[in-house]
């Protein structure tokens, strides 16, 4: 995902999906369902078609393990650094600038 690569570049000066603090989930592909997950210092922010959800890192998910099975991914999001909104860049977050379909915005 371009936003993940841009975020990874902000961290590593190279292109890597693993080092990004943002992730586009493409789980449950047959349902064509996706979401953008952002790691903040203490929260995971999950943005998807039906709205925004903020989960405290470490909190037990409602619905148990089965609900999260469909999002299984080899990318360990919890190991990533939290988003700093690209604070050292005058132009703001790189993920916004590189989203090819303008799917990300910031209030």
């Amino acid at each position: 995902m371009a936003c993940e690569l841009a975020c990874g570049y902000h961290r590593d000066d190279g292109f890597a999906l693993l080092s990004a603090c943002i992730m586009v989930t493409r789980g449950r592909e047959k349902r064509d369902y996706s979401a953008v997950v952002l790691k903040e210092a203490e929260n995971l922010v999950i943005a998807r078609a039906e709205g925004l959800e903020i989960r405290r890192i470490g909190a037990v998910e409602e619905g148990g393990a089965d609900q999260s099975k469909g999002d299984a991914s080899a990318k360990p999001l919890l190991l990533r650094e939290p988003c700093d909104l690209c604070s050292d860049r005058e132009e703001g977050p790189l993920c916004l600038q590189f989203c090819p379909v303008n799917a990300i915005s910031m209030n």
Partner: protein, 428 residues
């Protein structure tokens, strides 16, 4: 090869199940640039062993706009020529990050196998859990087995296993641009599927300059002709075919881009769910992702409703057969009922008028270009790893801009003369 690369080529011998890693030689990159330039060279190097070469373009999986493309290069069972088939969606991206820029698959296995290519490792595994399954079940099985739903799967279905002339290598659950019968080649090699996933790091020679140039180019593209256009149903009107928006529109759920591509060339339709639903559906298989405009138009020309046409596309994808061939040969046979068309999958035979005449898959429309112009522009897209449809729709992605990006990314000093020579080599 130090930059925009994972440095490695995997050479997989299906006869012995042995895998050998080879370094990607910088001199080869200087001479052939990448993508189809190098897959063609690798094909020629191993041609005595009837290889299938998987590859990525020089810019694939980077911030370069539309850098989604990977490719399969092999001799087409349909044409007898060495041809290239596009790997879109996220398959090119995952191949690049799997740890190998190129994969050469040579020889034939005695028993069904699959390849698991990930994190710099390529394994040849027994395919007993997936052989005999359709495309959708195979993808589900392999993802569940590996515990990762983001694995990209290049797989054949029953058409490939039975070595149908029109068997297609599908991407995950969806039709691909394989119009060359490469699915038959997979079947002949007893190769059920290739699973791709990786976490590599691509280093960049002039990282700041490369990213700045990508950003400027993306801004230009996003202000261009595509601002208000979305989805596969926009394409027929652009290529001079009948406008299908009223026909398809009522079942469209959303549009889907391939990796980092500003124009979504794929459209998801809901067949068993309300297309207006925004929250996640409870249904496991609500619809289908249309990735091939010619297949869709082929079924429309048989007089089918959009829902029936898309349901047939889904059936073709599960069986792993080229929908364009199915539509054309059924039209010739005078069949236009979904049930009888579906029954024709097994044992489908005949010659196609829509078969590709050149080296690149006719999956990408010509958009009014002459055959030579189209072939040249496809060559450029396949060398750099740019989405073939988007490349034709975006004059802003010029050869000069792509060479400039390649030089910022690699520091290798490519020139237009280098590119012209590679184009001439791979289109001759």
């Amino acid at each position: 090869m130090e930059y925009l690369s994972t440095h490695k080529i995997s050479i997989i011998d299906l006869v012995t199940s042995k895998v050998m890693d080879q370094e990607l030689d910088e001199d080869l990159v200087k001479e052939k640039i990448g993508g189809a330039g190098i897959t063609t060279a690798l094909y020629e190097e191993y041609q005595g062993e009837d290889p299938i070469v998987l590859g990525t373009g020089l810019l694939t999986g980077t911030l370069a706009p539309a850098s989604a493309l990977g490719m399969i290069t092999a001799k087409s069972p349909l044409t007898g020529k060495v041809c290239h088939s596009p790997l879109t969606l996220y398959a090119g991206l995952e191949l690049k990050y799997s740890g190998f820029d190129y994969v050469v698959i040579k020889g034939k296995s005695q028993k069904p196998v699959y390849l698991w290519i990930h994190d710099g490792v390529a394994d040849v595994n027994d395919a007993k859990d997936v052989w005999g399954k359709d495309v959708w079940s195979s993808t589900d099985t392999i993802r569940d087995l590996m515990g990762d739903q983001l694995i990209q799967v290049l797989t054949i279905g029953k058409a490939g296993e039975s070595e149908s002339d029109f068997a297609q290598v599908c991407i995950n659950y969806w039709a691909s641009g394989d119009r060359w019968g490469f699915g038959k080649l997979f079947g002949q090699k007893k190769l059920k599927l290739v699973a791709l996933r990786g976490m590599s790091l691509l280093e960049v020679s002039d990282a700041e300059g490369f990213v700045k140039q990508c950003k400027e180019l993306l801004s230009t593209l996003k202000a261009g002709a595509f601002v208000d256009k979305k989805g596969i149903e926009e394409i027929p009107a652009i290529i001079g075919e009948e406008n299908i928006q009223k026909w398809l529109g009522p079942i469209v759920h959303r549009h889907v881009s391939c990796f980092n591509t500003p124009f979504p060339t794929n459209t998801f339709v809901f067949l068993d769910e309300d297309p207006k639903l925004l929250k996640e559906t409870e249904k496991k298989e609500p619809g289908f992702l249309i990735t091939d405009i010619h297949g869709l138009l082929g079924f429309k020309k048989l007089g089918l409703s959009a829902a029936d046409a898309c349901a047939l596309l889904r059936d073709c994808a599960k069986y792993g057969i080229d929908p364009v061939a199915v539509a054309e040969l059924n039209q010739k046979a005078g069949k236009n009922k979904p049930d009888e068309i579906k029954k024709s999958f097994s044992g489908l035979k005949g010659s196609l008028e829509s078969i590709g005449k050149g080296k690149f898959s006719p999956w990408c429309p010509h958009f009014g270009l002459s055959a030579n112009e189209w072939e040249k522009k496809q060559a450029v897209a396949y060398i750099f790893g740019i989405h073939p449809i988007f490349a034709l729709l975006s004059p802003e992605l010029s050869e000069e801009k792509l060479i400039e990006l390649a030089n910022l990314g690699t520091g290798l000093g490519f020139t237009s003369e280098t590119l012209d020579k590679v184009i001439a080599d791979i289109t001759k």
